[in-house]
Symmetry: C2
């Protein structure tokens, strides 16, 4: 041991004595920053010690680790635990929350899949049975949040908890959600008198818009969430649409009868790849010979599990599939894919609108829930925006018809004609 | 054996004696018609005996089997041998050639995959090593046909041997091929000054159009066919474009350098699914950070081998892949699919134009080649039209960019704006 090494060792011992970190912790944290590939943030410990994202450069944002427990959990499984610790305030981000999360995603995304760094990351994020312990603590909280919470930050027009369509960049979130519904309506060539089946209807905004604006004769909208269906029914009654909309509190797999249009916006994420052929079978069972369909879903460019924290704390069982995986819906059912559009950056914009509105209402949300809840949801919204922004998540709209249907539109010009009916 | 059975047996023996068919042949032929699921044609033997597609109804078209050999081969492997026998005139079609082929495709397509009928069909069409014997007799003939043959029936503007784009139904084949090239140019946001790499350039029409109409600074167009490259170079020189187009007589896998736009129209059918990741690797190697790409290819709704006769006689090694299979190009390379459009019915229209022009020039073609050649090509063009018409084949255009490129267009409106530069 030369003089310099001896001095370093002395400093370490001193730090550890005053609650600093051990050599192994230091090495692992250094490695964790390294796999982020020169991120635009520094990491600052409760001791004041700073680990630079890019050595010699002061980063615009800082991740603050406020105690040893948070560090140990970050080193054990950052993807899962650090979300919780952020919610608890034991980890904080000083600066641009979305920017920091983007830097992490972007760094991880640039790793070659078989590199040592990627392997290190998979190793520390590996699933462990015991991580499930206590994982339910927020699930009930999430499901019991109720409709009121989402009204604080979703659009006030159609209550859409899915990607909007910014036909032009200046649209409000209300306009962009209506534009999304109009875009879907055009893609399925919705016509007056059509019978529409919807799988997973959320708060029912699509059904109301399809009836009000596009003259659908009947929409049967399926959802297994009692609270959402109650809201949807109330809203349809209030708007005098109850005779043309049936909100069905049931699983989409129990659909029967026949429809001109099958649509599902934001349900596929919860279906599970193994059930895709079943979904295709349901579509095949109910779609009329010249029926049109559309599935709108978050997706991936390559197969990857959902972020562990989001999967455990926000969306249990959620999985964003690749286009190849989504084809398992259509192939066995003999359905023909007509059009796939990737609206990734529209979801980043949608999330920014949600974040802005969340922040506008943050005092009311905090008063009704608590600070931990506020931090958890901001982290989730910011992390989701970051994921779309860097390309870790995609948004696919897939339009389809029966394989032998020659009445399908020849071009997509009709999607882009100037609307004469005031639709967006 | 009761009286009726005895009479039937007597009739069969009588027929066999005058060169008719045996009971087993009769049963197999009946089965073959049955798997076509009540097709709109009758089958008439050289004996005059007629087998109805739909019992009790006279069909609009008839398949004529002119001798026992053709029947035996049809019963052994209809997909492979009957094409040859049609070319030889031992099988003929009286009525609507495309219509008969459509009826066959449509019937087969309606069979449940695990049904006894489908299994029967797979069994008689099963690959047998000895069917390869002599399979090369037409391959050389096909490759030695030369450029002159294709000039008899392809468009005269850009010599495109791929699906056209009928932006409006009234376009001529020349206009629709130019419209296709413009559609591709818009999808890759081709801009003046761009460097374009093309994998599989045919007779080089895309490169010339991209330079002439869209101001590409440079197109490097790869093709391994000497004859096509010679034609392309000559045509570029004639039009004074040689300084901006480099036709490279080499495999696309040897591409190097960097491009703004990567495009491949009608090559993927010959690449082979196992080589898709290699193709993706080539794209990843040459595409600039904000580069745009498009692959245009025949495809399928579900995995299925190429029609055996076409694969052996017309396009050795060709395979139309599903969307899921095509994703093997993009997933490993971290590319992001932005847009998939299915232009199936445009290919049916394209083939009709080619058939019409083929028929206009049929005397000249017959004089230069022979009747067998004419029949083979008409069967191939008609069969291809039928396959697109009934949905057995698809045509996919897949636009893509790098996974982290946020400069991609937000909407597809730019594809459908009225052109101000006279492009289609």
């Amino acid at each position: 041991m030369d003089q310099k090494e001896a001095q370093v060792e002395l400093e370490r011992a001193t730090e550890a004595a005053r609650g600093g970190i051990t050599a192994i912790e230091r090495a692992l944290l250094g490695k964790l920053i390294e796999v982020c590939n020169r991120p635009a943030f520094d990491v600052v410990l409760w001791t004041g010690e700073t680990f630079s994202g890019v050595p010699g450069v002061q980063a615009p944002s800082r991740i603050l680790i406020r105690d040893r427990g948070a560090l140990v959990r970050m080193l054990a499984n950052p993807e899962l635990y650090t979300g919780d610790d952020y919610a608890d305030g034991r980890v904080d981000i000083d600066g641009d929350l979305v920017g920091v999360l983007e830097a992490i995603y972007r760094g991880l995304d640039s790793l070659p899949e078989r590199s040592m760094k990627a392997r290190f990351l998979r190793w520390i994020n590996r699933p462990r049975p015991n991580t499930l312990e206590g994982s339910r603590r927020n699930i009930h909280a999430h499901y019991d949040i109720g409709n009121a919470f989402y009204r604080f930050w979703l659009d006030r027009e159609a209550m859409q908890y899915t990607c909007a369509y910014f036909r032009t960049p200046d649209l409000s979130i209300e306009q962009a959600q209506i534009a999304k519904l109009d875009h879907v309506a055009r893609k399925v060539q919705l016509a007056a008198g059509d019978v529409v089946y919807e799988a997973g209807c959320g708060w029912g905004g699509l059904a109301r818009h399809f009836v009000k604006r596009h003259g659908a004769a009947k929409v049967r909208a399926f959802n297994i969430s009692e609270e959402q269906v109650a809201y949807a029914r109330e809203e349809a009654a209030r708007q005098g649409l109850s005779d043309r909309i049936e909100y069905v509190l049931d699983d989409y797999r129990n659909m029967s009868g026949a429809c001109d249009v099958f649509v599902s916006v934001g349900m596929l994420e919860h279906v599970g790849v193994d059930n895709y052929p079943t979904l295709g079978g349901v579509i095949d069972r109910v779609l009329k010979p010249h029926g049109r369909g559309l599935i709108h879903s978050i997706g991936r460019n390559r197969p990857m599990p959902m972020n562990a924290w989001i999967e455990k704390r926000i969306f249990p069982g959620a999985y964003p599939a690749t286009i190849a995986q989504m084809m398992r819906i259509f192939e066995p059912a003999g359905l023909s894919v007509l059009d796939i559009e990737n609206l990734r950056l529209h979801y980043a914009d949608t999330l920014q609108h949600w974040l802005d509105r969340f922040d506008e209402n943050v005092d009311a949300i905090r008063a009704r829930y608590d600070e931990r809840f506020v931090r958890m949801w901001r982290l989730y919204l910011a992390g989701s925006k970051a994921a779309f922004q860097v390309g870790a998540l995609q948004l696919f709209q897939i339009a389809f018809a029966r394989g032998n249907d020659n009445s399908v539109p020849r071009t997509r010009e009709h999607l882009y004609r100037e609307a004469t009916d005031g639709s967006l």
